[in-house]
């Protein structure tokens, strides 16, 4: 509060007191207005805003007591200091009882007046500050209420599900989206556990794990869940612990994304790819078959020149057929429909027969094959054809992307509880910016060198998908102009 703005009204019929008081007050930097009767004082009060009233009790006309009573009603915030003579000290007491703030007996020294006035100003300030605090508090309570309703509006209108539990796993907050995704009744689950409310053990397990997470590095878990039989609603739940500053878990927040439409889209895509592939494959097979009649001389003699051309056409068609086959395999793996007949697989056999199959291609390019296979290699539990595809693709890539008279090094052996297959070439290598993308579908590195190589951009994605479908991993290391090495790890089978 700016004390310069404090405005005094002095009502006294004695000119000396009036002017004296005015002088003292204005000298202190405050404002003062004076008047000599109760009536004119009340008039002034109606028109102007005053903070402190210095009021003489004994005046002709309307007396001070009456003015006091009047302003008590009209200006309850006005601080009234009554001025009174010694003879009428009882009047001062009565005035105080009637609501005056203080009194000053006449005659008074300037210092006495200053003391009384300052005390009144301090009181005013205190009152003002208290009022400000009250207003602030009211405002912040209002803000909290607004914020709360804003937050709950946001949470309730989110498309993603939100589920919050306390440390014991009881639900403390949820939104309609989670109810909808989980297909539950619209009734309050507050206080129930996840399992009681949803009956979903997977979800309850996951949140249970999150609630017992130790250490601050555990950021939470994500899991894809499905509902319905057959599953009709798919969602991904991301659950994270809520920690105190000290690090102890006090609850969990789980966000649910509905991914059903993604699944549907994916299914449509797979169906489309499947349909197109089948439609393409039949006529291509038919064309290929017809060409073989020419090449094999079933329909009359062909010149060497003609034969060469037709053979080249055949090679290109074989490339297309191979690509369609890969595409079908990939879409089937992605749709989870590649039903695999898993059996005990002896990897050295698969590797050796792949090497045998491709030895001719390698020889044609003058490549040297260094094959080292640990005969003690564990057997694995896998789909034979998938494993053949993996090994053949890797070796055939090593041939295709190698340089003339280069080398291919194949190492196979055990590594922990895994079998390891490494295929390294001495080819063009893959630049660091291309390396992360080589397992992407239809990604082919375009450069002078690879232009010569027939490829579909589906070989490596297929290998990766097959390896992963067998719970294995595939990694790649490469140095441009030096070569590339692929490493496959597959879990050993249980004998």
């Amino acid at each position: 509060m700016n004390t310069d703005a404090i405005h005094f009204l002095i009502i006294d019929d004695e000119k000396i007191i009036r002017e004296g008081a005015e002088r003292i007050i204005t000298k202190e930097g405050w404002q003062a207005t004076t008047t000599d009767t109760g009536e004119s004082g009340l008039e002034l009060l109606k028109k102007n805003s005053f903070h402190i009233l210095l009021l003489d009790l004994m005046m002709p006309g309307i007396g001070g007591m009456e003015v006091l009573k009047s302003v008590q009603e009209t200006h309850p915030d006005l601080l009234v200091i009554v001025i009174t003579g010694y003879a009428t000290i009882e009047n001062a007491v009565e005035a105080m009882k009637s609501g005056a703030y203080d009194f000053i007996p006449k005659p008074f020294t300037p210092d006495q007046l200053r003391i009384v006035v300052r005390r009144a100003i301090d009181k005013l300030k205190l009152k003002y500050e208290t009022e400000q605090l009250r207003l602030q508090q009211e405002q912040s309570l209002q803000d909290i209420a607004n914020e709360k309703s804003k937050t709950s509006t946001i949470i309730n209108h989110m498309a993603d599900g939100v589920l919050v539990t306390d440390h014991s796993g009881s639900i403390v907050l949820h939104n309609p989206a989670v109810t909808r995704m989980l297909g539950l009744e619209e009734q309050s689950p507050l206080g129930k556990t996840i399992l009681e409310w949803t009956g979903n053990e997977e979800l309850a397990d996951m949140i249970g794990k999150v609630l017992t997470m130790q250490g601050s590095q555990d950021q939470g878990l994500s899991q894809e869940l499905a509902r319905g039989d057959p599953p009709a609603v798919f969602f991904v739940a991301h659950s994270a612990p809520v920690r105190t500053e000290a690090g102890s878990v006090v609850g969990s927040v789980t966000i649910f994304n509905d991914v059903t439409w993604l699944k549907e889209l994916d299914q449509m895509k797979s169906d489309f790819v499947n349909m197109v592939s089948h439609e393409l494959r039949s006529p291509l097979g038919s064309i290929r078959q017809k060409l073989s009649l020419i090449v094999d001389g079933f329909v009359g003699d062909v010149t060497e020149e003609q034969n060469k051309i037709v053979q080249r056409v055949q090679t290109r068609i074989d490339g297309l057929i191979g690509m369609i086959k890969n595409l079908l395999d990939i879409s089937r793996i992605e749709a989870g429909r590649l039903i695999q007949q898993k059996e005990r697989i002896v990897m050295p056999e698969i590797i050796e027969s792949a090497v045998e199959l491709l030895a001719q291609d390698a020889e044609a390019k003058g490549l040297r094959l260094n094959v080292t296979i640990d005969s003690q290699m564990y057997t694995i539990h896998a789909d034979r054809q998938s494993m053949e595809t993996v090994v053949t693709n890797l070796i055939s890539n090593a041939i295709k992307y190698n340089r003339e008279k280069g080398q291919i090094t194949i190492n196979a052996g055990n590594r922990g509880d895994f079998v390891e297959l490494q295929v390294a070439d001495t080819g063009v290598g893959i630049s660091p910016e291309n390396l992360p993308r080589i397992f992407d579908k239809f990604y082919r590195i375009r450069n002078e060198y690879t232009r010569q190589v027939v490829g579909s951009g589906l070989g490596l994605p297929l290998v990766k998908a097959l390896v992963e479908a067998h719970l294995g991993t595939i990694t790649v290391e490469s140095q441009p102009d030096k070569g590339t090495a692929f490493t496959v790890l597959l879990p050993r089978g249980v004998n």
Binding site: S282, S286, Q289, S292, L293, D296, F298, K325, R332
Partner: protein, 126 residues
Amino acid sequence: MAKILVVDDDPDLVESVSTILQNKNHKVVQAYGGIEGLEKARTEKPDAIVLDVMMPDKDGYEVCKELKADPNCQDIPVLLLTAVVSQIPNTTYTTRMGMETEADDYVDKPVEPSELVRLVERLLTP
């Protein structure tokens, strides 16, 4: 010289396979669908059948099954022409091939002429 029934809904393929077999001096009877194939198997009494799997009216598995259930036809050897072996999920494939259809052999389309001849002639050899 034997009489061979070629069944496929793709006329181009029937023609190709016929050409290859005729070239090896076999007599070829053609059918352009499963139902027609079954009929001709019964009326023509071929020495062997080259049978496509994927046909719209009646697929090769079904035709093969009916042939093997027919006392007059069950001894005719059948070579199944599959689109791609891997195209058929393995479990289904194995079950159907081994237990239901009792086809005598199978080969992926497209097939090299020499391979087709080799397989057919192997079927003809008692």
